[in-house]
Symmetry: C2
Subunit: 241 residues, 2 copies
């Protein structure tokens, strides 16, 4: 066995196993501390204080601070997606508008949850701004699938609104980023909003109205004739015999 205990073994033994309990407490404390301030601002001493463990335990169980962060990412990223799946409020076969609303809702709930289910989301959004060594894995396993899911919804909406119109990847991405930008704004700018518009920060009370607004704002834009310029294919089609 490698110098660092593998996760399956440790997870299996966590129940009732004091030593595996230390590892689990470190993971959960680390998730909170990383979610609050990001990888760099988080300190092993603060993590160990919250976990009531020795700083050497981090090195024993995870190798180093980097390894701990990777373990946290792997442990909690899927929890966020499981607790708040993008199918939270719509089935995959539902119409695109309902799926869009569900997607927005799920992301907003992940951002609001500052418990263990939301840590993955907070860490993810922190990587947007301040990437670390887990960005590649995170991009591959979380970000791309999430963006592809939203791209599919956007494509579907644009095709409905503009039948026969050839869509480019760039056009789909522009709309996709407009939607994501509206959502992540509430997390990325939360510290600022707390200062300049404290009654507008994302909370339980206003989450659904904000989700509804972002959904309707985006649907209206996508359905409008104005949101797509002249199609390159349309232009080139005029040249075809």
């Amino acid at each position: 066995m490698s110098a660092v205990r593998n996760q399956t073994q440790a997870a299996d033994e966590a129940i009732g196993d004091p030593s595996a309990q230390t590892r689990q407490r470190l993971l959960e404390a680390a998730a909170q501390v990383f979610a609050e301030g990001g990888f760099r601002a988080a300190t092993v001493r603060e993590i160990c204080k919250r976990a009531q463990a020795n700083v050497a335990a981090i090195h024993y169980h995870f190798g180093d601070k980097d390894g701990l962060y990777v373990a946290v990412f792997r442990e909690f990223a899927s929890r966020a997606q499981t607790r708040y799946p993008i199918t939270l409020a719509a089935a995959p076969t539902d119409p695109a508008p309902a799926r869009l609303r569900s997607f927005v809702l799920a992301l907003l709930y992940r951002m609001l949850d500052d418990g263990v289910h939301g840590c993955g989301g907070a860490i993810l959004l922190r990587e947007f701004v301040e990437p670390t060594h887990v960005l590649d894995e995170m991009a591959r396993t979380v970000v791309r699938p999430m963006m592809d899911a939203l791209r599919a919804i956007v494509r579907s909406l644009l095709e409905e609104a503009h039948p026969g119109r050839t869509l480019t990847g760039a056009e789909i991405d522009l709309h996709t980023f407009s939607i994501i930008g509206q959502v992540v704004f509430y997390k990325h700018s939360r510290p600022l909003l707390l200062r300049v518009s404290p009654d507008r920060v994302l909370e339980k009370d206003n989450l659904e109205p904000i989700a509804e607004h972002i959904t309707q704002f985006s649907l209206a834009a996508i359905r409008s004739r104005r949101s797509l310029g002249a199609s390159p294919a349309h232009k080139s089609r005029s040249k075809r015999p």
Copy 2:
């Protein structure tokens, strides 16, 4: 004279004055380093290396790292606004759609400029995510005026699209944040986009199409009947005799 030389005196003497030149070099190097990684990640050693100055010079001219950051903010915040005013592409008397487009364009240009004119913008957007001791001053002198300017444009657009409709502050803010969210997404998420969609990051080539998209996307949404729910005033009016 106070222990820290005041800015007016130093700025006046910067031309041809070797000692004031050190101060100016420190300010410009600091602006770059703060813009790149934020206040916390920036080190006085890196700043002095770039400025070719001694670390004690920071303490002599600015008091400490905090004081340097304040000086940088004051020096460069106005430069960003001067170089890329929100009236960049529209006069204050132009119709609201043109003013919106100009507003979006100005912010995108500030975000793209990684020279001395853009440092203020980069530092500002960094404060959204990771506020420091200048947040209060920044909120008062830069953020609020900027948000109020956009709120006025949004109000104007909503009133045109929904005549007779009573607007709440919350409704205006929802639309305002949707617009800001789409814009700042390109700065806040740049490190991530460089990894998952490198051909979509904000650059000179695609800045105007992105500005146009955000403007049209937002205009379409604002003009749609869907973007505003039932008016509270409308509801209460129905009860009046």
